[in-house]
Each structure stands twice: as C-alpha cells, then as structure tokens.
Amino acid sequence: MRRLGLVLAFVAGSAAAQGTRLPAEAVDAFHAALRNKDTAAALSLLDRGLVVYEFGGVDPTAEAYALTHLPFDMDLAVASQWKLETRRVGGEGNERWVLSTYRVTGKQADGTPIDQVTLETVILRRSGGLFRIVHFHWSTSDAGFQARSQGQRTQGAAPR
C-alpha cells in the first residue's frame, strides 16, 4: 500500500494534471487527486463526455458527477485506504480500458469499519496525445452493500 501511495503521489496531485500518456496513469492520478483533495486535478483527468455508473446510479455528464458525487468520492478517498489488488489493461489506439479491484479499508464517521472490495471499470480516450477518462463504473463484491445502495435509490424513486 505504501508503495502504491508513493506511486500515486508521484504521478499526480497537482492542478496541472490534464490527462496522462498512459491509461493506467490517468486512473491512478485521478485517485491520487481525490486523496490530495485536489478538485481541479481530478476534473482535468475527465473527458467532458464522461458518464459515471456508480453502485447502480448514473451521473450522465462530467458536470453532474463533479457537482453531485465527486465531493463524496473525495471524502471517502481521504477517509480510507485503497489498495490496488488486480489490474488489467486493454484496448488499442485511442480507446483503452483499465479494470481494477481495490481493497478499501478505513473507518466511517461513527467508527464503523469500512472493509470491502471495490470493482472499477474505466474507459479512456486519447486526445491531443493524452488519455482522459470517459467512463467509470464502480461496484462492489459486497452484495449487502450493493443492495443497500440500490435499495435507497429505489426507495427514493418516483413510481412509474
């Protein structure tokens, strides 16, 4: 974890980040920006066509994600440790994907432990020689957590 943290701190953390040369670097830089509370750096790694699927919810635009969920993701990144467990990278040309799993640990505000595996799919697009993120999909291997997340959304949804 310490080695991962050092790598992430090296590749990102300043507001100057505006895409990266390698797809996986963009993913790591995004997480590092969140942990460093660097909103501008995180946003600079997002393609303006970003769509986010997060635990059953959808942020249909980069702007919607930036306003509604990025702040919480930053709060969570600061309050927890994300250990990269597996990663696969693929795609070709200007379209690439990065699949990662993280062991996320930490404590909630009330002291309740956080300990789950987060699954992350990232699709990136290269423009001007730099990769930016066009899609995130986060879910978890914790079926109970996923169910609670989606259950809350269902409770709040208007009847069809």
């Binding site: 507001a15 997060e54 635990f55 635009t61 702007e63 919607a64 306003l67 505000a109 997340s149 809350q152």
Partner: protein
C-alpha cells in the same frame, strides 16, 4: 428544492442531483473539507483591459445544508473551482466575497470565459500553485 438548485440540476443534465444516491448514504464519512457549491447569476464588469475577476452567484445544494447566501468575507483564501462551463476544472483563489458576489485573486489570471449558469465550488483549502 430552491429554484437555483433545480436549475443547476437541469443545466447539468442530472435528474438525481443532490439526491443521496448509491454509496453516499450507505457509507458515512466526515467531509474532507468545507465546501459550498454555487451557480453564477451575473458576470462582473471587466476592467480596463477586459479582464474579469468578479461574478455574482448563489449557493446551490441540498436545502437542509445549503445557505441562502454566502457568508460575507468568510470565503477569503478559499479555493474556487469551476465544475461546468468553458472554464471547467479551472481553479482560483477567492480574494473577497459579499453575500452574493465573489472576487478572485489575479494570480491565476482572469475569469474570462465564465457565463451565467456556470457551476462552481468553493472549498476551504489553499490553492496549490
């Protein structure tokens, strides 16, 4: 929900703006920093060289936790980042504020390019330069 907040949700294409969706309400962590989102309601007058450093804005967000106006003078030194519009991801330092007007430091350059309905966030953290 306040009109400005509903308008922001419409502008951003989000039907679920500010709803507690997904893990937000399942995992509860302390905020990493104090923050206030807002929307531009009027762009300030340019100086003699055409540079704009001021705009009028209104807070947006969940009604229960969003003030109706900015606390005068309290945002000085906070970081301001645009979340929408032409200046998306650009960051500035707040130099001063009233209840509805924000002026940024000239160090990061002017705000030119901002427009009414652009969305931003001010956060209680020093801008890294």
């Amino acid at each position: 929900m306040r009109l400005a907040t509903r308008l922001a949700a419409a502008v951003l294409g989000s039907g679920i703006a500010f709803a507690q969706a997904g893990h937000d309400d399942v995992v509860r962590v302390d905020p990493a920093l104090k923050r206030l989102a807002g929307m531009i309601t009027a762009v300030g007058e340019p100086d003699a060289e055409g540079r704009i450093y001021t705009f009028r804005g209104t807070p947006i967000g969940p009604p229960a936790s969003t003030p109706k106006a900015y606390p005068p003078g309290e945002l000085r030194g906070w970081r301001l980042t645009f979340l929408a519009g032409q200046r998306f991801s650009a960051a500035f330092e707040v130099q001063s504020n009233t209840d509805s007007e924000i002026t940024v430091s000239a160090a990061e350059g002017p705000l030119n390019g901002i427009a009414v309905r652009d969305v931003f966030v001010v956060e209680e953290i020093e801008l890294k330069r």
